[in-house]
Each structure stands twice: as structure tokens, then as C-alpha cells.
Symmetry: C2
Subunit: 198 residues, 2 copies
């Protein structure tokens, strides 16, 4: 049976981790982005459909293409993040099922059923976005997830000619813990407000 | 700066963790379910909106109410799991924003904008479902996530009279590692198939 993770790991993943608003001047390497993907890719998706497509926006040129799509409040801080991951959702994900789920004809479950395609794509790419956040924290990176941006502009700038649509963004780097830029933590719902055991 | 988690923790969370199809006869306590929630609740959501509502189906009576909603292939194994978590999405989540996001009137961003409500609810409750999966693995539990069920039947049986709608299910317990019941691992997309760095 698996043990409970060390307290320091639970703190790093969940209890002490914070959404960052400002970034220290410390780079994120391509090797770290590959290590991040090599963890998050193992997270479970329905029929292993793996619909997330990720653009790691890192160069000044790519940041300039992203900038006009960001909401006012997200613009300056995102330009200063070492990397901003665009979590995209591939609505043609089922084309890859013969490879990803080879033991049955899962592709035929989806073909021609657009509502099932769209719901499956959105749910599972979002799950993978959460795996990315926790995988980033697992390798010592901080995250700043955001959904305040113009999806159509991001899609035009990064996913033109594909069936990938932007889902949400995750800035990646090392956060500045200065309390002038890191907001006080907001409250969470209690167990009894959010859950019940039946 | 945070370190990389110990290799054993990365294995437990990502690299060795498997979606389970059969369960050993080992209980999951209510205290474990509370510990699970006390980790997953810290995962980030947009404007801290926290729309997941979770029913932990544990008693024989509750399992009998869940059973007819499950797809054929998910029925027997789910009845044998110590617990099955129903991840619900609360489409009235914005009513709680004055408590969850007190420094601005975030409730007004949503009122009357049903497409924004629905997208925000689905994206963020799904993120929280992924946090639940990784929090469960963090405390030594195995997971069996599923979306093969009749949502309307689950909603009628567990969320009647609310604006909560079922999103997906996660069986929880201690998996049976017997290779006769644990399928071989399916492949994942390579970094270059799923990602690019710009």
C-alpha cells in the first residue's frame, strides 16, 4: 500500500502553494518543460484520450503575440513570467485513439457525435491542465493559472488551421513571495459545505 | 525555491499510478475522505470559485442508488469499490463568491451570463476533480476515474432540487495489482506530439 506523502511534499503541492502574481528573474529551462510534460502526461483521461495541446510561450516574440489577447489585469504580470503555458483543447483528439487506446475502436464512439466530442475534449484537457499545475509544483515551479483572456485571439495567434481551441493559461516560474504582490489567501469551503458522505 | 519532490512521490502521483479496475477488501475511512478534501480544496480555481460539490458514495444503500446509472462495464467494479466519489458541478457557484472572493464583487461578473456560468463551472469543477485524484494518490489511495454513466440518472438520484450536475466519477480505494485485472498501460503522446515551445 502506498504511504502518505511527506508533509513537505503535501505543503508544496497543496497546502502552501499559491497562485503567483509576480515573478522573480529566474529562468525556466526547456528541460524543465520537458520534465513537466513527462510527469503530467501520466494523469488519467477518459479512454486515454489525452486532448491537451500545450504551447509554452517563452520567447519575446511569442509573448508579444499573446499580449493583446490578455485581459488588462493579466497583461503586465504575464509578460514578466518566464513562461506562459497555453492549455489548448484538441477537438480532433479522437483521431489519435487508434494509437492511444488500441484495444478497441474508440474512435468510432466519437465520430459524428459533436456534443460528445466537445464535452470529452473540454473535460479531459482541463483535467490535464490541472495535472500540469501539480506537476509544475512537483518539480519546484510556481504557477499562475488564468482564464481572463480573449480565447478567439489566442486561437488565431497560436492554433490557426487546427481544431485546437484555447482552454486556459498557466504562467510558470518562481513566484515573488513579497506580501505586497502576493495577495492574502482566500478562504475555502468547509468539507460540510462542499461534500457529503452517503 | 522549492525542490523537486522525492522520486518515490513522483512515482506515486504520476509515473506508477494506474487507473484501477479491481479493489482489495480494504476500507476507506471518513477521516481519509476529510483529509483528501483538506488537500484538494487548496487547488486553484478561477476567482477561487470552487464549484465542485462531492458526494462520497459509501453505504450499500447509496451504492444501490448509483448502480442503475452506471454503464454496463463500470457497474460491477464500482459496486466493489470502498467509495465512489461523484464530482458534481454547481452551476449556482457564484452565489458563494462574496465569501470566497471577498475583495471585489465577483458575483456580478456571472449573474445573468449563463454561458460564462456554465463554462466557468465545468472548467473549474473539473480542475477540482483532478486535484481530488492527485490528493487521493497523495494520501496513499488509488483512483478509478470514470465518465461512463448516465448523468441525468445520477443527478436525479443525488442532486435533485439543486443546480449541481454530475461531472465525472472517481472510485477510491486500494487497487488490486493482479495483472489479470489491471490492464497494461496505454501509451502517451510524446512531448513533440502534444507540446511546442515558442
Amino acid at each position: 500500500m502506498n504511504p502518505i506523502l511527506p508533509d513537505a511534499s503535501l505543503d508544496q503541492l497543496f497546502r502552501m502553494a499559491r497562485t503567483q502574481n509576480a515573478w522573480r528573474d529566474e529562468p525556466v529551462s526547456d528541460e524543465q518543460l520537458r520534465a513537466l510534460y513527462d510527469l503530467m502526461k501520466w494523469g488519467p483521461t477518459s479512454a486515454n484520450c489525452s486532448p491537451a495541446r500545450i504551447v509554452f510561450v517563452k520567447s519575446d516574440e511569442a509573448k508579444r503575440r499573446l499580449e493583446p489577447a490578455l485581459s488588462e489585469g493579466n497583461r503586465a504580470k504575464t509578460m514578466k513570467a518566464p513562461v506562459c503555458a497555453i492549455i489548448g483543447t484538441d477537438h480532433a483528439f479522437y483521431e489519435k485513439l487508434p494509437y492511444l487506446f488500441p484495444h478497441t475502436d474508440a474512435k468510432s464512439w466519437f465520430e459524428g457525435n459533436q456534443p460528445l466530442i466537445d464535452t470529452t475534449a473540454f473535460r479531459n484537457a482541463t483535467l490535464q491542465g490541472a495535472y500540469l499545475i501539480l506537476a509544475a509544483r512537483s518539480i519546484g515551479l510556481d504557477c499562475g493559472p488564468m482564464s481572463g483572456f480573449d480565447n478567439a485571439k489566442v486561437d488565431a495567434a497560436f492554433f490557426a488551421g487546427t481544431q485546437v481551441r484555447s482552454n486556459f493559461l498557466v504562467a510558470l516560474g518562481h513566484g515573488d513571495p513579497d506580501p505586497k504582490v502576493l495577495f492574502p489567501r482566500s478562504p475555502r469551503l468547509s468539507f460540510d459545505e462542499a461534500c457529503r458522505i452517503e
